[in-house]
C-alpha cells in the first residue's frame, strides 16, 4: 500500500529524516511514536508530499510519487486523507461545506451526492446535528471529528493522522480516538503519529518507534510495550508509561 525507501529530509542544514524505509500494508493501522523532534511528523507529511523529501522514494499503491514527472500529486493527495493536530477546518464555511468542498471541486461530485455523503459521515462521527454549525461554534473534539469526516468524504485509501489529539482538552480525547478506532476496525489503512500509548496498544497492528530521524524499532504493540528491544525505546517508554 505504502512503501518508503531510504527517505531523507533536510531543512537547510538540519537533517530531519535519515533514511526511513518502511512498508505499510492494506488495512494496517500503524502508530508512530517517539520523542518530540524525532521526525515523526515530517515523515508523515512526506507521505502526502506536504514536505518534499530531499531524497529517497515513496510508493503509494505501487505508484512512485517521488517521481514528479509522472505523478500528479493532487491526484495522489485525493487518495490520502490527512488529519492535523490543529484541525485546520475552514473557518469561513459551515461544517457541511467544509466536508463537501473537496468532493465537489476535486472529485466533481454533484452537490446533492456530496451532501448525502457528508451527512452519512457526520452520523458516523456523531455530529449529525452540527451540519450547519461553524467551526468556531464547536469544541476541539467536535472540530477534530469534523476534520476526520472531511478527509473521509474523499473516500481515501489511506488516512494519515498527525498527533490528532495533542491539541485537545483531556476530556475530548476519547471521542476522537473512538472514531479512529472504528475506522481501524472497518479496515481503513491508517498511519497515526501519536502520544496516546493506550490507543497504540489497543488499535495498532504495528508500532514504529522513531528517534533522531530514524526508525529504531518496529514491532507489534504487545512486543514493543512489554519488551522493547532498543535501549532508546526502553528509555522513551519508561518516561511516558
Amino acid at each position: 500500500m505504502i512503501e518508503t525507501r531510504d527517505l531523507h529530509k533536510h531543512f537547510g542544514r538540519l537533517h530531519v529524516l535519515k533514511g526511513v524505509s518502511v512498508q505499510i500494508n492494506q488495512g494496517e493501522v500503524i502508530c508512530v511514536i517517539g520523542p518530540s523532534g524525532s521526525g515523526k511528523s515530517t515523515f508523515l507529511r512526506c507521505l502526502n508530499f506536504l514536505e518534499e523529501p530531499t531524497s529517497g522514494q515513496i510508493f503509494i499503491d505501487g505508484q512512485e510519487i517521488t517521481n514528479k514527472n509522472e505523478t500528479d500529486i493532487n491526484k495522489v493527495r485525493a487518495e490520502v486523507g490527512m488529519v492535523f493536530q490543529q484541525f485546520n477546518l475552514f473557518p469561513h464555511m459551515n461544517v457541511l461545506d467544509n466536508i463537501c468542498l473537496a468532493p465537489v471541486k476535486v472529485r466533481k461530485l454533484p452537490r446533492a451526492e456530496a451532501e448525502e455523503r457528508a451527512y452519512a459521515l457526520l452520523k458516523k462521527v456523531g455530529l449529525l446535528d452540527k451540519a450547519k454549525a461553524f467551526p468556531d461554534q464547536l469544541s476541539g473534539g467536535q472540530q477534530q471529528r469534523v476534520a476526520i469526516a472531511r478527509a473521509l468524504a474523499m473516500q481515501p485509501k489511506v488516512m494519515l493522522f498527525d498527533e490528532p489529539t495533542s491539541a485537545l482538552d483531556p476530556e475530548m480525547i476519547k471521542e476522537v480516538l473512538d472514531v479512529m478506532k472504528d475506522l481501524g476496525r472497518e479496515g481503513m489503512t491508517m498511519v497515526v503519529v501519536t502520544h496516546e500509548m493506550g490507543f497504540a496498544r489497543e488499535v495498532a497492528d504495528r508500532v514504529l518507534f522513531m528517534d533522531d530521524g530514524m526508525i529504531l524499532e518496529e514491532n507489534s504493540p504487545s512486543e514493543i510495550f512489554t519488551s522493547p528491544a532498543n535501549e532508546r525505546t526502553k528509555m522513551f517508554l519508561s518516561k511516558i508509561l
Binding site: N48, L50, N74, K75, R77, A78, E79, V80, G81, M82, F84, Q86, N88, L89, F90, P91, H92, L101, A102, K105, V106, R107, A147, R150, A151, M154
Partner: protein, 221 residues
C-alpha cells in the same frame, strides 16, 4: 484682522464645489475598484513560488510605492503620449494613474492578508487534493478579503485625499474647483475651509465604517 466671514460666497459656490466633490468620489471609487482587481492579482503574485511572477509583482509594487503619485501622473499624462505620439485625455490619464497606483498599495494589503492566514489552511486544502489555485480561490482568498476590509477602507480614504493631485492636469475635482472659485472671488479663507470640510464629510463616514468593521471582525476572530 479686518476679515469678515462671508457665508454668501460659500452658498453661491456650493454647487460648483459639489460637482467637484462628485468627480473626486467618482475618481476614487473607480480607482479603488480597479485597484482591488489589480491588487488581488499582484498580491497573489507577491506570494507566488514562481520566481518570475514574484519578481514582476515586486518590481511593480516597489516602483509605484517608491515614486510620487505626481510623477506617475506626469509620466502617464505627458511622458507616455510623448513616447507613443497619441495624447491621453486628462480624465483617462487620471483613471489610469490612480488605478495603477492604488493597485500597488492594495497588492501589499492582499499579500499581508494572505500571509496572515495560517499555513494549516493551505495544507488542509492541498491535502484534500485541491490544486494551489483551488485552495487560493475557495479557502485562502475568502478569508483574506474578510480580514483586509479595514486596511482597504484606509486605502480608500488615502486615495480620496490623494486624488486632489489630478488638479494639476486641470481636472476639475474638488481642489481644482476651490482653486478656481477662490481665484475669482478672492475669498480664499471661506473657500478652502469649505473644501476642507467637504473632504472631511466624505472621509469621516468611511472612517466610521472602518472602525465598525474592525470591531466586528475582532469579535469574529
Amino acid at each position: 484682522m479686518g476679515y469678515v466671514w462671508s457665508w454668501q460666497v460659500i452658498v453661491q459656490s456650493f454647487p460648483m464645489l459639489l460637482a467637484g466633490a462628485g468627480l473626486t468620489i467618482r475618481l476614487t471609487c473607480i480607482a479603488v475598484s480597479m485597484g482591488i482587481l489589480i491588487g488581488t492579482f499582484f498580491g497573489i503574485g507577491r506570494v507566488a513560488k514562481n520566481a518570475l511572477i514574484f519578481s514582476l509583482s515586486s518590481i511593480y509594487v516597489n516602483f509605484i510605492r517608491g515614486t510620487p503619485l505626481l510623477v506617475q501622473l506626469y509620466l502617464v499624462y505627458f511622458g507616455i503620449p510623448a513616447l507613443i505620439g497619441i495624447p491621453i485625455p486628462p480624465l483617462l490619464a487620471a483613471y489610469i494613474t490612480m488605478s495603477v497606483n492604488s493597485g500597488a498599495y492594495v497588492a501589499e494589503i492582499v499579500r499581508a492578508g494572505i500571509q496572515s492566514i495560517s499555513r494549516g489552511q493551505m495544507e488542509a486544502a492541498r491535502s484534500l487534493g485541491m490544486t494551489y489555485g483551488q485552495a487560493m480561490l475557495h479557502v485562502i482568498l475568502p478569508q483574506t478579503f474578510k480580514r483586509i476590509i479595514p486596511p482597504l477602507g484606509n486605502e480608500f480614504i488615502a486615495l480620496l485625499k490623494d486624488s486632489s493631485i489630478v488638479s494639476v492636469i486641470a481636472l476639475e475635482e474638488l481642489v481644482r474647483k476651490g482653486y478656481l472659485i477662490s481665484g475669482r472671488t478672492f475669498r480664499s479663507f471661506e473657500i478652502w475651509t469649505a473644501v476642507a470640510f467637504m473632504f472631511l464629510f466624505m472621509t469621516l463616514p468611511i472612517t466610521q465604517l472602518v472602525n465598525y468593521t474592525e470591531r466586528k471582525l475582532k469579535k469574529g476572530d
